[in-house]
């Protein structure tokens, strides 16, 4: 594809890890590699130490919005910096992420003269806030030339509250970075190993459901590896749980490679499920709650097993069966290794380029 000048706008601080931020960073690097000119506008605490393609728009404030806490940036200074960045960049296309969040994305949509593409990450079709804000959002979002939703759940949210029919393009993963990650022997349980990844203190990530299920299973030699920040909850007596804290991507890949099963016991609010894709890429069998977003990633159970969301007893049974059936695990892993190629950045970035091509006529 012809090289374009592309401006990406991230609403949340890049210094803080998160799904949207990772997506924007990976996308920027992928587009640069494909020969485009890319500049990323993002809130940032630090002026230095950022990748060369990032322009810091100022310090973000942590605020609760639409069910989760994000570091957001708004106000006259942010608006002025966004305008300056747009003028300087003279972009062929501007691609904002999460334009319905009160942050840089929304500002850029209002200020950009060139075609604007927006990716909606959130999935919250019954959001009362978004229903109430519809009158504010719709006139702003009518400026969008193209809308992308990262999942069916995100698509429904857009159609419901923001107007317009988006195309679905999933989040990307660099499959190669996970494929062939090496297991770490000292992390392995005596009989079997299970992994959990996600902010430990956040109830909707479902760690307590998994701990309860493991208590019910009462299986000796089973170890749980927990990756993610936050204060560890009380671990029921007799369980072998190892908290590894927040780790980098390479270590996360090794944790996944060490585990026999990766469990995603999330109880709701998930739009996509990028960690499931990472586990599939690392060759780890996935067992996830049957949220629509997860079922979609797992091709309705063909590329990973599911259990009824929030049901610890059902999780205990499903996990036990999976650990006792290495053939089934191997089958699921094989299906998963084919499935993940659709989520590889090589595919995802091409689809996003196709969107740019349909809106950037210059």
């Amino acid at each position: 594809m012809r090289p374009l000048r592309i401006g990406l706008v991230c609403p949340y601080s890049l210094d803080v890890p998160g799904g949207v931020q990772n997506h924007v960073r990976d996308l920027a690097e992928c587009l640069l590699e494909r020969g485009h000119e890319v500049s990323v506008l993002a809130p940032s605490e630090a002026e230095s130490g950022l990748p060369a393609y990032v322009v810091a728009a100022g310090r973000a404030v942590p605020l609760a919005y639409n069910g989760s806490v994000g570091r957001l940036l708004f106000g006259p200074v942010a608006t002025a910096r966004t305008r300056a960045w747009l003028a300087e960049g003279n972009f062929d296309v501007v691609h904002v992420h999460e334009p319905a969040a009160p942050s840089l994305g929304m500002i850029a949509v209002g200020a950009a003269e060139c075609p604007v593409v927006a990716t909606f990450h959130m999935a919250n079709p019954r959001s009362r806030l978004l229903s109430a804000a519809s009158g504010i959002l719709r006139p702003r979002l009518e400026r969008l030339a193209a809308r992308i939703a990262v999942s069916e759940a995100a698509r429904q949210t857009v159609v419901q509250h923001c107007g317009g029919e988006p195309v679905i393009i999933p989040n990307g993963v660099y499959v190669e970075r996970y494929r062939g990650a090496e297991a770490v022997e000292e992390w392995r349980g005596v009989e079997a190993t299970v992994a959990f990844i996600g902010r430990v203190g956040e109830p909707r990530k479902g760690l307590t459901v998994l701990l309860e299920a493991m208590s019910l299973m009462n299986r000796s030699g089973l170890r749980l590896l927990v990756v993610g920040g936050g204060d560890p909850p009380d671990v029921p007596q007799g369980l072998d749980v190892r908290f590894l804290g927040p780790v980098d991507d390479a270590t996360k890949a090794r944790v996944l490679a060490t585990a026999d099963v990766y469990v995603a016991p999330n109880t709701g609010g998930e739009s996509f499920g990028i960690v499931l894709v990472e586990a599939m890429a690392a060759g780890t069998c996935v067992l996830a709650s049957d949220l629509p977003a997860f079922r979609a990633v797992l091709a309705d159970g063909r590329a990973g097993a599911t259990f009824p969301t929030g049901d610890a007893a059902a999780l205990a049974v499903a996990l036990g069966q999976l650990l006792d059936d290495p053939d089934r695990r191997a089958r699921l892993r094989r299906a998963a290794s084919v499935r993940v190629t659709s989520f590889d950045w090589s595919t995802v970035a091409s689809r996003i380029e196709e969107v740019y091509d349909t809106v950037a006529l210059r």
């Binding site: 969008l144 193209a146 107007g163 029919e165 349909t358 809106v359």
Partner: protein, 175 residues
């Protein structure tokens, strides 16, 4: 000031405020119309590219004779929405399952066509989103009373079959 002059000041305020609102709304509508034109242009460009990609693959010897002929015929018809719909139909019949080719050049042609099909679909969808936005604003009472849309024609959604062949289907999270 007397009560009467307050009334005058108030009336001027209302008139000025209303004028500003009308001016802003007219500008907003104008931008919407402009974006709609761009989106319509994009549909034309993408359908033209799809035709080019079809002709290229039909002339490459990658497909059998009958399939190539069908494609050439469908891709050479005079341009209108109906002809594009027919081309989509023929493409779906020809590419009903993934084409197994180890030939690198052939792969490029197929990928190129797949991408062109997906872009036609996107361009039409984005265009029709713009149509909906224009219509929504034009249907508000004040825009109609003050004829802010001027002589701009009433926007029409593009109605054509843009179904992508199963072998090229977009990445949706479902399949």
């Amino acid at each position: 000031m007397t009560a009467i002059s307050w009334w005058v000041v108030g009336a001027i305020g209302v008139v000025v405020g209303g004028g500003v609102w009308l001016w802003l709304t007219a500008a907003r509508l104008d931008r919407l119309h402009h974006r709609l034109d761009v989106a319509g242009e994009s549909v034309h460009i993408q359908t033209a590219r799809r035709r080019a990609a079809v002709l290229e693959i039909a002339g490459s010897g990658l497909l059998d004779g009958p399939e190539s002929l069908l494609l050439v015929e469908a891709a050479s018809a005079a341009y209108d929405d109906e002809a594009e719909s027919r081309l989509s139909e023929v493409l779906r019949a020809v590419f009903d399952e993934p084409l197994a080719t180890d030939d690198g050049a052939g792969r490029v042609l197929v990928d190129n066509l797949a991408s062109a099909c997906r872009r036609v679909q996107m361009a039409r969808r984005f265009h029709n989103n713009q149509v909906a936005s224009v219509r929504a604003l034009r249907s508000t009472r004040l825009v109609r009373w003050f004829r802010l849309a001027g002589r701009a024609p009433h926007p029409q959604a593009i109605d054509l079959d843009d179904g992508v062949p199963p072998a090229f289907a977009g990445l949706d999270s479902g399949s």
